[in-house]
Amino acid sequence: MTEATNGERTERISRRGLKALRVFVRNRLALLGTVMLLGFVFCASFPNVVAPHDPYDMDLANPFAPPGSPGHLLGTDNFGRDILSRLIYGSRISLTVGLVVVGIAATIGTTLGLLSGYYGGVVDILVMRLVEVFYSFPFLILAIAVMAVLGPSIYNVMLVLGLVNWPIYARLVRSRVLSLREEPFVEACRALGAGNARIMFRHLLPNCLSPVIVTAAMGMAGAILSTAALGFLGLGVQPPTPEWGTMLNEGKDFLRRTPHMITYPGVAIMLVVLSLNFIGDGLRDALDPRLTHQR
């Protein structure tokens, strides 16, 4: 009996998943975004295969080589390092930071949102006040202030951006839980003797995941932009690490002489952010049918 219902449930879920997948694939921009992102993921996974040079290899005899120079498709920077190779290795940093940041933020936010929506009362008031306090800071300002105090490093970037980004997930999950809490299936779980933790994580959480996934895709785009912004201000990943924002920071001193030092890192940031935004849009249409008519 239980096996049968379980089987039915899996089938229903997979059917719903298939439908979502079909909607997603039919969205050409979402597909384009996925292909672009896969390209970046490939570069990030096998930079030593893709990149023509070592990203740290200086060639002091050949600085500021223009794009299209022999052996340097996108030219070289002020130390004669190959810009294309640095961009390829940089994708590894941006994608990793983006993933970790979203992981930290979504975990904290979702947990607090679940607790806040499920228990209500004092827990809810405390969590929501905390959310409001965090929302009161212009996001980048708080990140910059904490980075300035903690000192720049890639680990601090991940930690700070993760800790600053969680409120959006908390708010999202809380509002979802508030309406789910009243559903008959929760009542049924309780009648069957399920504990609070089981109801929250086993039954409510899966029902909150689609908006969290959509937000996470967009959030990863935001995290990559913020990482680059911190790098640009000299507060993020430190040189000589080939982080895109840090590369822009180094390039801005040679703006007039070698515009290509800032052009290409910017294009790389834009493309990866664009691909994640396309994917996020596609996911929203696929997972949240109520919003589809707006397209």
Binding site: R129, S136, F137, L142, I144, L150, L248, N277, F278, Q294
Partner: protein, 315 residues
């Protein structure tokens, strides 16, 4: 209305307290002895250390330190800059109007782009124009603003030399001086918001156009322009303005970057300079004022809401 206003103000109090606490806690996050941090790396004489300890109440427990900090704040005292030895509040008072000028201009730029383009995009749904505007707004949202700023600087400032590349204009040198200095920074800061708001305007207009009262307006024979601009736009604009207000924080955050690129003498550049010097009191002061500005704007949006949308009644 006034009851609502008072309640809304009261709710802001715990939020402001929370914000001050986080800003206060920044000191304890910093590695090292706070006294050395607060006096920078210069030689610290015992008397100086003693004075700092007394001023901040550093020999007392943290809650007492926090109370001292709040007491200073209430008197408008945000401490002294480590580098210039002048009151933090003085520098902020000097820079804040410039930042507000820049963010206001960026907001205007964003709305001037977003509303017409979004409306056209919605009324010409699925046309070539709609496609271009959607792609454009997506690019605007995805473009890092520091990159856009550098490109504008390179192109309009250095290559064609049509716009001044740094600083703020003065009204005494004519209106064009003010505007010409504003164009590149406000475009840089406003583009991503413009992209966001364009998409929002489009979907908001589309939603309103599908409402029953629009069909009614059409059915009673109103001209299409009257339906669109008198009936639809006024209702569609409300969520756009709300979102614009809530995005003000993003503009403030972006100001740090844009002001750094264009040497705009505002709070962002002040904060950036403070970070370079590890000027902790200045970092605290600017962070706090940025947050307070944001809270004030959110409050303002909430209140303005009542005037824009007559359907909303707070009681």
């Amino acid at each position: 209305m006034s009851a609502y206003l008072i309640r809304r103000l009261l709710i802001s109090i715990p939020v402001v307290l929370g914000v001050t606490f986080i800003v206060f806690a920044l000191v304890s996050l910093a590695p090292g002895d706070p006294i050395n941090l607060l006096l920078a790396s210069e030689k610290v004489t015992p008397e100086m250390a003693e004075r700092v300890r007394e001023y901040y109440g550093l020999d007392k427990p943290w809650y007492s330190q926090y109370a001292t900090y709040l007491g200073h704040l209430l008197r408008g005292d945000m401490g002294y800059s480590i580098t210039t030895r002048t009151p933090v509040s003085q520098s902020i008072k000097r820079c804040l109007p410039n930042t507000l000028q820049l963010t206001a201009a960026s907001m205007i730029v964003a709305l001037l782009i977003a509303i017409p383009v979004g409306v056209l995009s919605a009324t010409h749904r699925n046309s070539f124009l709609d496609y271009v505007s959607l792609t454009g707004s997506m690019l605007g949202v995805s473009m890092p603003n520091f990159w856009l700023g550098l490109l504008l600087l390179l192109l309009l400032g250095l290559q064609f030399k049509v716009l001044p590349i740094w600083g703020i204009g003065r009204l005494s040198r004519g209106l064009w001086d003010v505007i010409s200095h504003l164009i590149m920074p406000s475009l840089t800061l406003g583009t991503s918001l413009a992209g966001l708001l364009t998409r929002l305007t489009r979907s908001s207009v589309l939603e309103v156009l599908s409402q029953d009262y629009i069909s009614t307006a059409r059915a009673k024979g109103l001209a299409e322009w009257a339906v669109r601009y008198r009936h639809a736009l006024r209702n569609a604009i409300i969520p756009v303005l709300t979102a614009a207000g809530l995005q003000f924080g993003a503009l403030l955050g972006g100001a740090v970057i844009v002001e750094t690129i264009f040497a705009w003498p505002g709070m962002g550049r002040l904060a950036y300079g403070a970070i370079q010097q590890r000027d902790l009191p200045m970092i605290q002061g600017t962070t706090l004022v940025f947050a307070i500005c944001f809270i004030a704007v959110t409050l303002l949006v909430d209140v303005l809401y009542v005037f824009i949308d007559p359907r909303i009644r707070y009681d």
